[in-house]
Symmetry: C2
Subunit: 404 residues, 2 copies
């Protein structure tokens, strides 16, 4: 008998029919002798709808009130899931973040879990009832309702799985697992049966289900076994495991295209200590999440710095960068939304120096210009023009033999 | 400086624009030197929408889960109201029923308030912030979320006004006050400046705003001054006062038509002790709220019993009544939805025996047949055919000079 935390949200619970289907899956899973704890996030696009309602009501949205608003979506979905389970003869109790014992800091909108006291969840399990926990929420040390942020339900599920000593944490989504690349771009993309935490963390997965990075980190730190799988086909998905892939597995695991970022370039920066620091400190203070940073080789004490930011933040980032550029005497700032990042990910590549060369050659053979390069021990990312991203992805998927 | 509890819900907060208008009203009220506590119920038809979602998901709706679901509507509206207030420079904090200190019994769906510990609400007031309390909810003695029932936000507001020692409790609605009759039926219906608690309790007000009876009873018991007024025109409405109307006020205060009930008649009932009791006990056990009950004079030990029930309950009530009728040997049960009740209400009528006679004559002069009669010291109700209700209302409004 296994104890499994199963997380459902978004499209998986977007309608009454979908909620009933999930409930039926839970019933069948229990009928096979297992115990289950559910973590539910808001139905369909409800979180977006609540946010746009907030924008319509007010230009001023205090974090405390935004959290009160958004968490209503999860509570609603939880209550409905319990009803659907009862209808199938499965006793179930909904728990808000607070009732499930999620104590957080007071950082509204992006609260961090401080501790979990899951007494009520455990009592429900012992009474052979299904605890249904509202995802991405808790109660702060000041007794206010807090939201863990977008994707926070994954973190709720993983943290709860660890606290309860569950055998696994299953994150259900609308695709069947993690693929060698985006199946919409490459018809021969292949589903991976396992992937390592490090590899998953390196993927900025488009077309793959991407659990919130925070939840993957928590799972890795606490050794929680993650299973990413479909709430539509119910087939086995991709297990995320602590171990490196075995010897037989290919060096490269996936090609992941990502068109969600924009690039900012600061030209003519004096190459002296503290210049880059002052710029990135100001960006961090404004909450801009800078990703790739590349500084070109310095010539005559002058260099260019390029970095990528989420497309939504590009205007803010450009404005800050321009004001810093004036102060530090840089010659110009350009922003470019028309980019995509294509990454090769694979734990095996660190001992294979030829990977980067093959990647660059493949892109070159397809007349694709590389605008930025960044690497980690298990990833190589190239920034290219957005309209080249599909060709790049297909060519690399082919070149590294990922469909086999 | 007055401290006033103001309650808004339904159409008053049905859209982003309406929420902003209410917030602006609150700002102006505070600018005149007053303190305010808001009680907010769900936006527009949200409670109905949540209930129909629940029906679509499951035939089984445990009370605990239904309460978790429905209370999400109030929390959402509260958070949005706080945002709108902040936007106008008014600091405000939302409080769930639990945070506002509403401790209830465990009777899900219709919980009763056991006590209120409004420490956080008071602290917000002292910090010159507007407490915005989610209506119709609390936390049970077993730490579960509870719903006080439909219309429970009125009770939340009145109970909070009493606990805080507020100067008044204002229930905002979509009409401008309590009228002498339904303005949609009589063009010359007149708004009353004051009305007594007893009179308001006797009105089954159609076309008048009818605060939940429970809240009026609480207000009466604790001497909370109620003001029923419009959230659209913001003009002075009707004050509900403890005192009897002054001598100058007319005997009859209003004519209130009500087409929301149906009539059940049990014919040929043996007129012996316990027969009626067994029938109404069974109806009560099924949760059917019986209103008027009339038993005809007994002839040869055989009588007819008629009673009214809310139209939604008529099928249940008829089924129960038929099964009891068989047991007690009654000759037949008929159910009739095609009825309306027209009531005269006025604290002055108890010392004026001619009122009933005038009422019956007026109906008779208009060829309207009376199917049932029931009276209280300050009310006379006649059940008539539904298609006669408007004529009856207009004739009585005229006959008792209520437009003057």
């Amino acid at each position: 008998m296994a104890l499994v935390v199963q997380k459902f949200g978004g499209t998986s619970v977007a309608s009454a029919e979908r909620i009933r289907e999930v409930a039926d899956h839970v019933r069948r899973f229990r009928d096979r002798g297992n115990q289950v704890v559910l973590v539910i996030s808001a139905m369909g696009k409800e979180t977006d709808e609540l946010l746009s309602l907030a924008s319509a009501v007010s230009r001023t949205q205090p974090g405390r009130e935004l959290d009160m608003l958004i968490t209503a979506g999860e509570r609603k979905a939880c209550a409905l899931m319990c009803m659907a389970l009862h209808d199938l003869g499965v006793s179930a109790d909904s728990f808000t973040g607070s009732q499930a014992g999620f104590i957080t800091d007071t950082n509204h909108g992006n609260a961090k879990i401080l501790k979990i006291t899951p007494g009520r969840v455990q009592a429900a399990l012992e009474a052979n009832r299904v605890p249904v926990v509202a995802g991405s929420q808790g109660v702060s040390t000041e007794d206010d309702v807090t939201f863990l942020g977008r994707g926070g339900s994954d973190t709720t599920a993983v943290a709860l799985a660890h606290t309860l000593g569950a055998d696994a944490c299953e994150l259900y989504t609308d695709v069947t697992g993690v693929f060698t690349t985006d199946p919409r771009v490459c018809a021969d993309a292949r589903k991976l049966n396992t992937i390592s935490f490090d590899e998953l963390l390196e993927m900025t997965a488009v077309g793959c289900p991407k659990p919130a990075m925070r939840s993957v980190e928590v799972a890795q730190n606490y050794g929680v076994k993650l299973h990413i799988r479909s709430a539509f086909t119910w087939e086995q998905g991709t297990w995320v495991v602590k171990e490196e892939p075995s010897m037989e597995q290919p060096i490269i695991r996936s090609v992941t295209p990502d068109a969600s970022e924009a690039k900012i370039t600061v030209a003519g920066v004096a190459d002296r200590p503290g210049v880059a620091a002052s710029m990135f400190r100001r960006l961090a203070d404004a909450g801009v999440n800078v990703d790739m940073i590349v500084q070109s080789a310095s010539e005559h004490g002058i260099t260019d710095i390029s970095f990528t930011v989420p497309e939504d933040d590009v205007d803010t980032a450009a404005e800050i960068t321009r004001s810093v550029a004036d102060e530090i005497g840089a010659t110009g700032v350009t922003a470019n939304r028309d980019i995509a990042r294509v990454s090769l990910v694979g734990a095996g590549m660190k001992s294979h120096p030829g990977v980067a060369a093959t990647m660059f050659e493949t892109l070159s053979n397809n007349q694709i210009n590389i605008e930025m390069i960044s690497t980690s021990p298990i990833r190589i990312s190239c920034v290219v023009r957005q309209d080249c991203a599909d060709t790049a992805t297909q060519a690399l998927h082919e070149a590294f033999g990922l469909s086999r």
